[in-house]
């Protein structure tokens, strides 16, 4: 037998990819297993997929090393930050799947649905560990393609297909912009690696200035699309409204986490020499994002659309962490995303439960008088809304506190004042929901679906928000330690 000579050395630290490898294999296996599961027992597929994402979260923690390690010649980076992000992403996926069980039970081809969610998760996990524009783009596209399909999953619902198409066209455009920007940065620095770009840009001469600026602007614009910063937010309300509600919940957390992780890595590793420039651009975007998100949310009558604009508003606050550009700021982003995941998942769980006799209760009016009929759901929704508004003893307050603190530390006092103004504006539309729930009379008879996974979700998220609101210390500690190695 001839000696087989492997052309390249076997990649080192392959074990650090264990979670990703596991998700990829499990997703493909699930696709096959699903063929043997009867249509009326599809919840088994769902539970299997949930198990996969939870195991992936555990594996992510398990492969964590005390020092950052790279694999595949520096393409793949595993540090504490990536681990934290992956745990959040996997939890977000698990929540999204739990929400799907009831909502999607009458749809066809459910096997693919959960498998697509798993592949999207895989893409996000790759983004979290990307140390290189190529792998980042691979992860981004894997995630995006899966989510385009998931948004349009209810093929017979017109607005679902419409949302999917809009999202796809704008998403493809933004991917193009991102790639276009990357080519400029590559042209100047000769590297795709974040750190390599960083050194390349720092060493570049004055004649490269225009190319660098173009690269910077296009990269930021492309990423801004993905995390829905204004004025690149146009797809968000339509996609949120049209998508099946569990997918709306899913895409409001995981992809945002992955997007912000990539954003942080690119700003901190690849573009540190352009801090003045990107701070200026991001400040402009943040000012616009906070205003658009919080003002437009006031005018919404559909609660999914309202939460879409509310997401944009929250992205505006989270951007303060990016602008602060210090460890506290980046840690604050992770604190914010963790708390935001619980708040949003809880709120969407209640919205899904409002589904009455096949007609989704998506109008804000539908919540009128909820407290008289379902006091427990009403209290949960009330607490979640106060939390989203950022009122203390609830988690949302600490999320805002963390980003504002970091921004003040970095000297952006005026921006914080502006943000606080809009957080007071934002409080209006959240407490208006509380008004419908508690102050108004019942208008339509409520017909809540009974679903124990959903009830569990509501319970878990609400308790998490209260506990995080009273004892935020450990979470802030974890996030700060995870980010300590980055700068």
């Amino acid at each position: 037998m001839a000696n087989v000579v492997f052309p390249y050395p076997f990649p080192e630290h392959l074990t650090s990819l264990m979670p990703e490898i596991f998700v990829a294999i499990a997703a493909m296996a699930l696709l096959l297993i699903d063929l043997f599961i009867a249509q009326d027992k599809k919840s088994i597929t769902a539970w299997l997929a949930i198990t996969v994402s939870l195991i992936a979260a555990l594996l992510s923690v398990n492969v964590m090393q005390s020092e950052a390690v790279t694999a595949f010649y520096g393409f793949f980076l595993l540090d504490h930050f990536a681990v934290l992000a992956k745990v959040l992403i996997c939890l977000g996926t698990a929540f999204g799947m739990v929400l799907s069980i009831q909502y999607m039970k009458d749809e066809e081809h459910l096997g693919e649905y959960y498998v697509l969610m798993l592949f999207a998760t895989l893409g996000m996990m790759l983004m979290a560990s990307a140390n290189n524009f190529i792998i980042m783009y691979l992860g981004l596209e894997l995630m995006a393609l899966c989510i385009y399909v998931l948004v349009g999953y209810q093929r017979k619902v017109l607005r679902s297909s419409e949302a999917s198409l809009k999202y796809f066209i704008l998403g493809a455009l933004s991917s193009g912009m991102l790639l276009y920007g990357v080519t400029f940065l590559y042209g100047v620095s000769g590297s795709f690696n974040f750190a390599g770009i960083g050194t390349g840009l720092a060493a570049a001469g004055a004649d490269a200035h225009t190319a660098i600026m173009l690269g910077l602007v296009f990269v930021i614009a492309g990423l801004a699309f993905k995390v829905s910063m204004a004025p690149f937010h146009m797809w968000t309300p339509d996609a949120y409204e049209g998508a099946p509600t569990p997918i709306t919940a899913f895409m409001s957390v995981g992809p945002k986490v992955a997007g912000f992780v990539v954003f942080i890595r690119i700003l901190a590793d690849a573009l540190p020499s352009l801090q003045n420039e990107y701070t200026m651009i991001l400040t402009g975007l943040a000012v616009l994002t906070m205003a658009v998100g919080n003002l437009a949310a006031i005018a919404q009558r559909n609660i999914k659309r309202m939460l879409a604009y509310s997401t944009i508003g929250h992205v505006g606050f989270i951007m303060l962490g990016l602008i602060a550009a210090n460890t506290d700021g980046y840690a604050a982003i992770m604190v914010y995303m963790t708390i935001y995941m619980f708040m949003n998942m809880g709120a969407f769980a209640i919205i899904i439960l409002m589904n009455r006799e096949g007609i989704p209760g998506e109008l804000i009016d539908d919540f009128a008088g909820l407290s008289r009929v379902r006091p427990v759901y009403a209290m949960a929704m009330g607490l979640l809304m106060f939390s989203l508004a950022g009122i203390p003893f609830l988690g949302g307050f600490w999320a805002k506190y963390a980003v504002f603190m970091a921004a003040i530390e970095a000297g952006h006092l005026y921006l914080v004042l502006y943000a606080l103004l809009f957080s007071a504006v934002g409080a209006f539309y959240y407490i208006r929901i509380v008004k419908y729930i508690y102050f108004d009379e019942e208008r339509v008879a409520f017909n809540f679906e009974e679903s124990s996974p959903m009830q569990l979700t509501v319970l878990v998220t609400t308790i998490a928000i209260v506990v995080l609101g009273i004892f935020p210390g450990p979470l802030m500690d974890i996030c700060k330690q995870a980010l300590a190695g980055l700068l």
Binding site: S371, I391, F393, M405, A424
Partner: protein, 525 residues
């Protein structure tokens, strides 16, 4: 030894969290409106008993914080669970726990829908209010300060009058918009004063004048909305009018004091130079509150609105006394807040008693009530006289002290003013006449006169339960009016200390620090 034991027992934590624990137990285990009422009453009385040792074993000879507690809360940001009371805050803890009992008793019959939620909201509210007065960590203070909005929003919105949604949204957004600036100020102070949120550390840190100026404004907005001071007072009449009776009592009795307490705890000791700089501004706003708002009160047709405006005017007295920096005026201000808590609370309860019978608050719908409700008429007479600050009532002591203190203002306050504070005192004294006008005129139109309206003829006099919650208020108002010394003793040392803090400039130290900064930076590794 025994005293030591009491001092080491976490009384403050217990009094803060007992109401919420009680609310939790009631929510989970108590069924039936009747049982809920009794259970809440038991919880509120237990809380009052827990707070009682604060007064009984209070050391009146020191301005130091007492009953202190300390535990790390968020170590990452050096946020600590730091509690303590001094002579300024201790009375408010007792005031809160006492008024909560009265609120719960007063709601016994008039709240019939969602009794359980109502009682839970009040008990949670009590937690946040006591927390505000005990917190010595600025973030903890803000935590309780803002958390208070949630139960209050629900109390006005669920159990309020016709226009309740408008009133409660206005209340919520006004106070929220005001207090977010305070959060910025606190965060800025954290970085200025060396990564700490301790209020006591802030008091020691020399801020330079520019920072004092802007921080003072940020705090001012938060506190002025809460007091409320003209021109950000407009939420109060709406909130008072629409709130259920007990909500008005707690609003007038405690919530308004939080703003004035903020001035005493933050603005004066932490930002003394800015406070002196803003004396004319505060005096002007206080005088507008005293004179203009009194005139507005006179023209009200709704009794609750009238008392609400009267509260704003009386709080004008408090802010005036606060910014005179004299021991007398400050004692008067603190005493005035305590006294006003009882008097305004009692007046709202009086309106509540009438409202429960006729379901109207319009002055014009009454007349000759004394003929059918003689006991009630006597009680209301007493509190109206107290509101006018007649000698013998607690309000008289407060107003006399403030006027005396204003007449002999501290040189620091006098120096900031272009006119003599004696003129300010004379101007403020007109309030005695104005408050007599609006209070007694209302009393005349509602209680006195001939009995002509059929609806009024059907009114029954007060029940034993109703009398029961007026009795402690009557006793307290008279006791504080005739013998205010015990309370003044409690306040005295802390106020003297506060005067010293407010009149000692921090600019010298700030200047020295700025000079030393380059040297310190060079020495630092």
């Amino acid at each position: 030894m025994e005293l030591n034991n009491i001092m080491n027992f976490p009384i403050l934590s217990l009094s803060i969290f007992l109401p919420t624990l009680g609310a939790l137990v009631i929510w989970l285990f108590v069924r039936g409106d009747r049982a809920v009422r009794w259970a809440s009453l038991a919880v509120s009385i237990a809380t009052f008993l827990v707070t009682l040792p604060l007064a009984l074993s209070f050391d009146t000879s020191t301005a130091h914080m007492q009953f202190e507690e300390f535990a790390p809360w968020i170590p990452t940001f050096n946020v600590n669970y730091q509690l303590g009371v001094d002579g300024i805050s201790m009375p408010f803890v007792l005031l809160t726990s006492l008024l909560t009992i009265i609120c719960i008793v007063s709601a016994w019959e008039c709240i019939q829908s969602r009794v359980k939620e109502y009682m839970i909201a009040f008990l949670v509210l009590e937690t946040t209010l006591i927390g505000v007065f005990c917190a010595l960590d600025a973030i903890l203070f803000y935590f309780f300060w803002e958390a208070m909005l949630i139960p209050m929003y629900l109390i006005i919105g669920v159990w309020g009058g016709k226009n309740r949604v408008y009133a409660t949204l206005k209340f919520f957004l006004y106070t929220l918009a005001g207090s977010v600036l305070m959060l910025v100020a606190v965060l800025v102070m954290y970085f200025k004063a060396g990564h700490t949120f301790s209020v006591l550390a802030f008091m020691d840190y020399p801020f330079d004048f520019t920072w004092q100026f802007w921080l003072w404004i940020a705090f001012f907005v938060a506190f002025a909305v809460k007091v409320p001071m003209w021109p950000v007072h407009t939420w109060l009449p709406d909130a008072h009018t629409e709130a259920p009776t007990a909500g008005s009592v707690i609003l007038a009795g405690i919530l308004l004091k939080m703003g004035a307490y903020g001035f005493l705890r933050f603005s004066l000791p932490i930002l003394p130079d800015a406070s002196q700089y803003f004396v004319p501004f505060m005096v002007a706003l206080s005088m507008i509150a005293i004179i203009y708002i009194s005139l507005v009160a006179m023209m009200q047709r709704d009794m609750k609105r009238l008392i609400a405006y009267s509260s704003i005017a009386h709080m004008g007295f408090v802010t005036l006394g606060t910014f005179m920096f004299s021991t007398l005026a400050l004692e008067g201000a603190v005493f005035g807040m305590i006294s006003h808590g009882f008097v305004a609370g009692a007046l709202f309860l009086c309106v509540g008693v009438m409202y429960d019978r006729l379901h109207t608050r319009e002055i014009g719908d009454y007349g000759g009530v004394a003929n059918v409700m003689p006991i009630f008429a006597a009680v209301m007479m007493l509190f109206c006289m107290a509101n006018v600050a007649l000698p013998g009532a607690s309000a008289f002591v407060a107003e006399a002290l403030v006027l005396l203190g204003t007449f002999n203002a501290h040189p620091a306050a006098q120096a900031a003013m272009s006119v003599s504070t004696k003129w300010v005192a004379i101007g403020a004294a007109t309030s005695v006449i104005l408050s007599a006008c609006y209070t007694l005129w209302m009393y005349k139109r509602v209680i006195l006169g001939d009995l002509v309206k059929d609806s009024v003829k059907s009114m029954q006099d007060m029940t034993v339960r109703e009398i029961s919650y007026f009795v402690p208020l009557i006793l307290l108002v008279l006791w504080l009016g005739f013998y205010p010394v015990p309370v003044l003793n409690v306040i005295h040392e802390s106020v003297t200390h506060l005067v010293a803090q407010a009149t000692t400039t921090k600019l010298v130290a700030a200047h020295a620090l700025a000079q030393a900064a380059p040297i310190l930076d060079a020495v630092r590794p």
